[in-house]
Symmetry: C2
């Protein structure tokens, strides 16, 4: 649920007080569906959950022009903290989806911190790629399941590529002030 939480918190942070559907639409505009699955149910569930945890404050319905227009939500102080925590976590993740969510909001972190977090992640990715390569070197190829050697190669390459992509992204961090 971390990805949903981060996305929902992050969008509310951008939009200010808004209702669930606006979040849904914003995430659509952001083309989040290109890199992760997101169902309406998950968003509304996250909204409830985050509110219950005090990370969001739900308020009166906006007198929406169309449709029901029920509750609206705004991020609380605690929510801000949580957002930054989740963001740091996401940027330190190996999972491409989590990482992507982190990158989406990387501009919300001070540039120095963003750079250092990304650098750490790059190192970790490379280390892991090396580790997989090492494991693979002691595995015999085999035509039978589970084709470990092939899979290790596949994942090693992907980790390495991700590291390279991150280096590029890190590079762009300076081009904006």
């Amino acid at each position: 649920m971390n990805v949903v939480r981060l996305l929902v918190l992050g969008v509310i942070r951008e939009l200010g007080r808004c209702h669930g559907y606006a979040i849904r639409q914003t995430l659509d505009e952001w083309q989040v569906q290109t890199w992760t699955r997101l169902h309406s149910g998950s968003i509304y569930h996250a909204l409830q959950q985050l509110t219950k945890e005090g990370l969001l404050e739900s308020g009166a319905p906006e007198p929406g022009n169309r449709g029901p227009g029920k509750l609206t939500f705004a991020i609380s102080r605690a929510g801000e903290v949580e957002f930054h925590d989740q963001l740091r976590q996401a940027l330190a993740s190996f999972d491409l989806i989590e990482l992507s969510a982190g990158i989406a909001f990387i501009g919300c972190l001070p540039k120095a911190e963003a750079t250092s977090l990304i650098s750490q992640t790059i190192e970790c990715l490379k280390d892991n790629a090396d580790r997989l390569a090492l494991i693979a070197s002691s595995v015999r190829p085999s035509p039978k399941p589970p084709r470990t050697k092939d899979l290790l190669a596949l994942w090693r390459t992907n980790l390495a590529t991700t590291a390279t992509s991150l280096e590029e992204i890190r590079g762009t961090l300076d081009t904006f002030h």
Copy 2:
């Protein structure tokens, strides 16, 4: 759940009649945790589900040497069919995890079919990489969320890399007879 289903069916297929824990252990040996998450609960749930659907036949408990040793499972004729369906689906997927599960069992398909499926997937991956590149070319870089341009580049590269890895795997398909 597709990945769990495929893995469980595939392992039972390899092992023959066995109980849940044996599946768990085999998946551990296969180091499946390197590339996907798998909790015991999911495995047992899948076993129940697959049995209910008639894809597995549950039989008498093996008089296991140690521990409780409850039900044992074997794959049914319908299960074989389902396994091959899922396998084809997995090999046609863009999702690295699903794809990995497919590759794990790629040897269970006739070589010609495996080659052709993988080739199709490679084409699809490349097409999608190109599509993302095209989208990215019309997106302005921005320091604010959601950093679409960076994300598109990240995913484009990953798709392209996956395609390359698959080409390598396709190459090895011939080295075994």
